[in-house]
Amino acid sequence: MTDELVMPRLSDTMEEGTIGRWLKAEGDEIHEGEVIAEIETDKATMEFQAYSDGTLLKILVSDGETAPLGSPIAIVGEPGESVPEDAAAAPKKKEKKAREPERAPAEQVPAAPPPAPAVVAGNGSGGGALKVSPIARRMADEAGLDLSALAGTGSGPEGRIVKADVERMLAGGGAVAAPVALAPSAPAVAAPPAAVVTEAEVRELTPMLKAVATRMAHSKQTVPHFYLTSEIDMTRAVELRKELNEALSASGEKVSLNDLIIRACAMALVEHPQAHRSYVDGNHVYHPHANVAMAVALDDGLIVPVVFEADVKTVRQIARETRDLASRARSGGLRQREIEGGTFTVSNLGMLDVSSFAAIINPPESAILAVGNVTERAVVVEGQIVPRSMMNATLACDHRACSGADGARLLQTIKRLLQGPAALLA
């Protein structure tokens, strides 16, 4: 019975071996344990030993020839045995490093044209792809909404359209509303006459309105409010405003009464730290600067951007800021950091003819000033009845943060500054 010797695995990475030289010739006897050939592997030349006794009948792969691992390299058997005809030699290469000749370069197949950009759902223009979150896209698809109108103006990063945007679209909200974190206080504004509705319509609150609702309810439930009212003579403030606007007319800048009020509050707050501090978790937190927030009404809702460090800003600076903030508030362009961090709020409903009102404190602030309209009224000055521009201001305070006297002192200073407004320019 003849047996094949195959190219042995002599290193764990070898895939083929080359016969360095046979140490035995055809017809020789071989014994178990004898080294019968030297084989070159990828790592080194190794000794190939016989694992059993026998006679080397035929060499299939000669010196210098290469064969893959496991392919037959010789036949062994009993002396004189005939070798089977079909003892095929493994494919041999003369040169261990010989490679197949390079094929003629195949005909160049023209590359397929790049696929047309996928048409994005809702993007009629077929231009750049619309950035939409997966859930927003799904909701829009399900509702048959065309999102192209919102392209690039979604609430997500880089204008990505997100679920909230689609929700607003579905609710008929129109323009994307600005994000809201702190909802300021304001009593319900008299709504424009609504269309007559025969059946009650139930609409879920948008996140912004929900936030306002939760915040205000929480404030009313947990903050012990008390209220102080004052009548402030704004005559000189009105005059100052006129003068300032004349001086600034060239630059197009305008100062409003509200800007003067904000400046007055800021200066007063730093003068009265006990009326400025906040009550938080059993501690009083003293603020180094007065960050005065101003309430801006939206079509449906409210937003309260902050004028930071108003105590060290000029009236002109404040005016510029409030103008920018108000305009961006209405267009939905406010950033989160612009509506957080306030230490006091001014809420002005004078433009809607309210003469006086009491506002709800916006925690963690500890006070809010509600001002009404400026009207000409008859007042007594040094025994004479004279017409003066008067404004009602109501200060709501958190009794855990300040006492009645603290609040009163603050309000007194605000009044003094507005009635002697040159001080605001100091």
Binding site: S133, P134, I135, A136, R138, G154, S155, G156, P157, R160, V162, K163, A164, D165, V176, P179, V180, A181, L182, L205, P207, K210, A211, V212, A213, T214, R215, H218, Q336
Partner: protein, 330 residues
Amino acid sequence: MADMTYREALRRALDDELARDPDVFLMGEEIGRFQGSYKVTQGLWDKYGPKRVRETPISEAGFLGAGVGAAMMGLRPVVEIMTINFILVAMDQVINHAAKVRYMFGGTVGVPLVIRTPGGAGAQLTAQHSQSLEAWFAGCPGMKVVAPASPADAFGMLKTAIRDDDPVLFCENLVMYNVTGPVPDDPEFTVPLGKAAVVREGRDLTIVAHSYTVQRALRVADHLALDGVETEVVDLRSLRPLDIDTVAESVRKTNRALVAEEGWSTYGVGAELAARIHRICFDDLDAPVERVGQAEVPMPYSKPLELAALPLESKIEAAARGLLRDCGVL
């Protein structure tokens, strides 16, 4: 039902199982006369003696390996590694041995071993003593890794782990030992491995967490509620097996996910959850999954630096707010 601390719940579970099964025994440093470095095993040495509550020298590789060997022989050892930081010197015994034995040996022998160990940070214990390494083990086939976040779960899951025939890494937390909660009296009360729990329901955001981070997540949820955001908090309870079904169900509802952990986010629990959530809930997502973990630094000593590095509520909340802003909410 009785209120007790997480620590007491663990002790009761150990006591019950020691009484129930003579093959159960404890091994660890200072668990006997010293009553346990975190007092989990207090009283057990007095009650069961030194053979059932076996104190060891400082030889984690030695006694954790011994736990593997004893388990292979059919006993049920519960090995305590004083803190998860010290498991590193016995890593070979856990990963190369405990986790591999059953499979490597063709299923002919198993390792019913429990390794109990607390992780966590916040007491200025510095870099080598402040790690949370459970993610490394949760990635290893053959291991089971759990992290109960309440006394009831600690009680029920430790029992299940001890009765389980596979090696379980039972992750406790240093701060949580003092957390109090109700625990059923029934000694047969067990909590299954591989099942997460929704501990707070909400519609706007899902926060996924395990161990002490669950407590932080719940407080963050309270703060967010003041702004009208309702947060759903999922307590994973088990890292391997991982109950991704419960997480996916939540994300399908809220469309927004944040994963918070005490360990490092890079290659952490959050990485695994983010990959799976993206895979399963791709069409439900309003934004990519957010991750919060310890700052990618060795934990510093100085208190302000440590606070800056820890995944405190304020950081989790900031990340949540960032995510909500990206979604036009807040």
